[in-house]
């Protein structure tokens, strides 16, 4: 297991580098938008990765609510944190694409607004976990995560349900995409998934270690009571 991590890290770095080259150099230039369309190769895979992480967070939270499993609780906190990082990328790269294409940085469109709400929900989830000292925190966080996850399908299907300014989906939504572009999009998604898995792996180990240290510190303070003066 100790060897697997660096090997996986090197493979992920190679895959990310290759995917970056394909996105910036090898991908065909889009006729209307030009080179700025290449932001799509980072924006869309980041969004899909964030959705997947929030979905895992939802499953882990439900498992925690049913079985009170500590591992499920750790998975929930890890996926929420990494999901927020990827969602931040989506919210930053989106306006950077919109400015030259739409002429505006932001609009209160359903897709954009629901994504911002999603980000805020999971940021509040992380703040709850960070600042609450109650023993009920994992339970409250799990309940919040279950409700927060309801926003994920709303974000995803908003462009089907509502009339929005956001571009229509390129896969499964009637939109068309050059097969070479689709291949590079999926390649970037696989690269980002491997990267997300790598971060989650490190974060999971860190969280386990942190809890072990906290338990040891608590035990030590019980075993060695200081004399009262």
């Amino acid at each position: 297991m100790k060897r697997a991590f660096p090997i996986f890290a090197v493979l992920t770095a190679l895959l990310l580098s290759y995917a970056l080259y394909e996105a910036l150099v090898a991908a065909p230039t889009e006729k209307t938008m030009g080179d700025v369309q290449r932001i799509f190769y980072y924006h869309v895979p980041s969004a899909w990765t964030a959705f997947l992480l929030f979905l895992i967070n939802f499953v882990a939270s439900v498992v925690y609510l049913i079985r009170r499993s500590h591992s499920a609780d750790i998975v929930a906190v890890v996926t929420a944190e990494v999901g927020v990082v990827f969602c931040t990328v989506v919210l930053v790269t989106g306006p950077l694409w919109a400015r030259p294409v739409w002429g505006i940085w932001w609009t209160w469109d359903v897709r954009l607004t629901s994504t911002l709400v999603l980000w805020l929900i999971y940021v509040s989830y992380l703040m709850l976990r960070r600042f609450s000292t109650s023993s009920q925190t994992p339970l409250l966080a799990a309940a919040l995560a279950v409700f927060g996850a309801l926003d994920v399908p709303l974000v995803y299907f908003s462009i089907w349900i509502f009339r929005t300014q956001h571009p229509q989906p390129v896969i499964g939504g009637g939109g068309s995409i050059d097969p070479r572009m689709l291949h590079i999009l999926l390649l970037n998604w696989v690269a980002f998934l491997c990267f997300a898995a790598l971060i989650c792996w490190s974060r999971y180990r860190l969280e386990r270690l942190r809890r072990e240290v906290e338990e040891t510190q608590a035990l030590e303070s019980l075993l060695e009571p200081r004399s009262l003066r």
Binding site: L20, V36, Y42, S46, L96, R99, P100, L206, V213, E220
Partner: protein
């Protein structure tokens, strides 16, 4: 082209900053473990 490079740079700045916070947290934890071992 500027927007494209800014978007790609911003993506990696966000990820590297997050990785930096993980390293910091790991170092803090290592110090706590060392303090416990004393």
């Amino acid at each position: 082209m500027t927007f494209l490079y800014v978007a790609y740079a911003a993506t990696w700045i966000i990820h590297i900053t997050y990785l930096g916070t993980l390293v910091q947290r790991y170092k803090r934890l290592q110090r706590e473990i060392e303090a416990l071992q004393k």
